[in-house]
Amino acid sequence: MSQAAAIEAKNLDLTFETGDGSIQALQDVTLEIGKGEFVSFIGPSGCGKTTFLRVVAGLETPTGGEVRVNGTSPDEARRDRAYGYVFQEAGLYPWRTIAGNVRLPLEIMGYSKSEMADRVNRVLELVELSGFENKHPWQLSGGMQQRASIARALAFDADILLMDEPFGALDEIVRDHLNEQLLGLWDHTGKTIGFVTHSIPEAVYLSTRIVVMSPRPGRITDIIDNPLPRKRPLDIRDTPEFLEVAQRIRKGLRAGQSYGD
């Protein structure tokens, strides 16, 4: 395994034992994500996308194979604050203001007061939420709440961002806007991003690579390099190159399905 990779998975297996039998959520998953890459995971429900991110985050323990994050185990990587995790729901604490929510990881990690204030200001500016510091979550729209949760994951400057369908619950217009913002953020911070989505255009628009997965057992069926340039205006989605990548993903998804059934 090379030292430069941010995330390496080798022959990863994960079987959940449940009351009515065992579920193979991941089977023989091998993947290497380089530093600074933007990798999307796409596939039908139940193919193990969330499970894979959770294994990388050390929230789930694989039953076979190996994961390294920044060359260390997921647990060590977590203690080193290697990653920020964005869940599908914003999950902001209702009793904290927006600034208070973003400050939460910093408080836990023991930053100084002035450092906390600086960082909160900086990341709220990054997600365009300056001026909403003292609002409570319920005073914000769903899209703004999700941006706040991204700011919370960015606050402690992890180089890896793991995002599990962060925009799944948002309407298309808001989603487009957040996609643009996320791409800009990735471009000028150079972070490594692992991004789960159900949307083919979203995957093509955002990623440098797209991992196509299929269920029962959860496995990788295709890995697609995205030839699109790093700078991507929204209307790049109408170009032939874009549509070609989308086409390949669609084919990969279909193939996975017919194999499974």
Binding site: L59, R78, F87
Partner: protein, 288 residues
Amino acid sequence: MNRVLPILVVLAAILALWYVAVVPMNAGWTIAQAERAGHELTFVDIVADTMNQDRPRLPAPHQVAAELKKTVLDTKVTSKRSLVFHGWITLQSTLWGFALGTTVGIGMAVSIVYSRTANMSLMPWAIISQTIPIVAIAPMIIVVLATLGVEGRTVPKAIISAYLCFFPVLVSMVKGLRSPGAMQIDLMKTYSANAGQTFWKLRLPASVPYLFTSLKVGIAAALVGTIVGELPTGAIQGLGARILIGDQFGNPLMIWSALIAAACLAGALVTIVTVLQSLALQRMGYAR
């Protein structure tokens, strides 16, 4: 005004029912008296008499009001005949019991949430404790504490009061401390938060709305517990003792005025907790 009006309507209805009930309850005595004296009574005479007997089975509202005026306003508050004096005694025990019960309830909830052993051992006993009638337990607590050398009624009363009060707090706090979902707990894990941080920054604040809901039940339960603690023979102070003495000496006015005073006290206490609740939740940003 919108909130006061329904309360006033219900109050008026209760008073009307009360007046109606007074007639049949007390008419027997009126008629018996008249027969003995050989008087003929009209219906109006009977009604008028049932409203103003000295020792009615059911005193009329205005009689209770007069008794309340006498024992609350016209008596020095330091006097043993003042309801304010007795109410104060009851209030003190209630607050001690409430503080003790709330503390015990929260403490047990925390240990139940954090320890499987506590969950399996404490919870069943907590539930069993509430199935035992408090009137059966109250005298035992008083006797046991007396043999242990605890003087007076304050401590046993507070304990009986806490015995009733801790349970709703316990149940709500267990629910509240467990209310954060899997995602919230996982989020704390991704920060490598320790158990203490997860408690103070997630579980405890998440439980506050649950806590206040239970405090409203808890303070009322604490008052009931105190009054029950004042009932066993021997007590001479407190609203419960007034009820008991009124019963023993056949003085229903005393019973009813003590009951009304207890109801007012309960109402006031619950209102205070409600106000604190809305202030606290507003400050925490829960309110919309």
